[in-house]
């Protein structure tokens, strides 16, 4: 990836940097350039917003209520294991 160091980053480059940007994994100078670009580029600001929206939608899949599936079977397996340990001791 070649960055256009003498001028503003292009949007086509910025979209490939969003993850590293959100992860705080960009070198300082590149991070600054991304931030400068975001200030003046509504398109990329919107793209970043969509990326954040995607992360929110994905995390929402994780919201589970109640005891997880297979709980009873696992507790029985646990008791079986514990019994075997006590027998071996």
């Amino acid at each position: 990836m070649t960055y256009h160091l003498e001028e503003d980053l292009h949007c086509v480059e910025v979209v490939e940097l969003v993850t590293d940007y959100l992860e705080d994994a960009l070198p300082d100078d590149v991070r600054t350039r991304v931030e400068m670009h975001l200030v003046i580029c509504r398109g990329c600001e919107l793209y970043l917003g969509q990326t954040r929206g995607t992360i929110d939608a994905v995390s929402a899949l994780g919201v589970d209520g109640g005891d997880p599936e297979g709980m009873q079977g696992l507790l029985e397996a646990f008791r079986g294991w514990r019994r075997r340990e006590e027998e071996d001791a």
Binding site: H10, T19, A25, G43, G53, A57, V58, G62, R82
Partner: protein, 224 residues
């Protein structure tokens, strides 16, 4: 006013996760069922989700997960705590799920079999941008992406959208799927995912990037 954290021994303050693990391991060794149940409640759901990505049905996923828990219990006396419990669990889980999935020869979408590490190239369609030779706005958006913040919240988090996101994730190549599931659903830190999946930091970020970009694209199509 002393908080509970401040009142703890200095060691515990510096490595809270390690001492929590140590407590859990000790409890499991004692046969403490409540500790086991708490650990299961914490991780079971995500473990099932990850396993399900490799095997053909929910029942098989439950078996793989159960085997993993049993492997933890059987090996608990030898558990040294070099990796965290969580990392250990998911490392073992993924390996078992891959083995089981291969053995069962589940019908996987072709994309899951393709080496996702070899994926390269832009994650956004090149024709969304003006050419590099454009006189005024080289490499700029040809048309702005839509503003999702302007959508009613129920739209982005509707049942329909959730189903779409779920399906988009299922269609991802295996490692992209695992990374996005662990990071964005499981809340794992980057280091934990790298340890669980044997990835370099850079690798992990590339996989996360590609996974999120694909899901974003499908969401965008759906929300348009």
């Amino acid at each position: 006013m002393l908080s509970a954290a401040a009142a703890a021994a200095p060691d515990e303050q510096q490595r809270p996760r390690d001492s929590e693990d140590a407590r859990l391991v000790a409890a499991l060794r004692r046969g403490d069922e409540a500790a086991f149940a708490a650990l299961v409640r914490k991780h079971q759901s995500l473990m099932l989700r990850v396993a399900r990505g490799y095997v053909r049905d929910q029942r098989l996923a439950e078996e793989v997960v159960q085997e993993t828990w049993l492997a933890l219990l059987e090996g608990i006396d030898r558990f040294e705590g070099r990796a965290s419990l969580k990392t250990w669990l998911f490392r073992v889980l993924v390996k078992r799920a891959i083995t089981r999935g291969t053995r069962e020869r589940r019908q996987v979408p072709f994309s899951s079999l393709v080496g996702d590490d070899d994926e390269s190239g832009p994650t956004v369609d090149a024709d969304r941008f003006l050419g590099g030779d454009h006189p005024r706005w080289p490499g700029h958006w040809a048309a702005e992406p839509s503003n999702w913040e302007a959508l009613p919240e129920q739209r982005l988090l509707s049942r329909e959208t959730m189903r779409l996101v779920q399906e988009a994730i299922e269609r991802l190549p295996a490692r992209q799927r695992d990374v996005i599931v662990m990071r964005d659903i499981g809340g794992f830190g980057a280091e934990e995912v790298c340890a669980a999946l044997d990835l370099s930091d850079g690798n992990q970020r590339v996989l996360l990037h590609r996974a999120r970009a694909k899901v974003r694209e499908e969401l965008e199509r759906h929300l348009a």
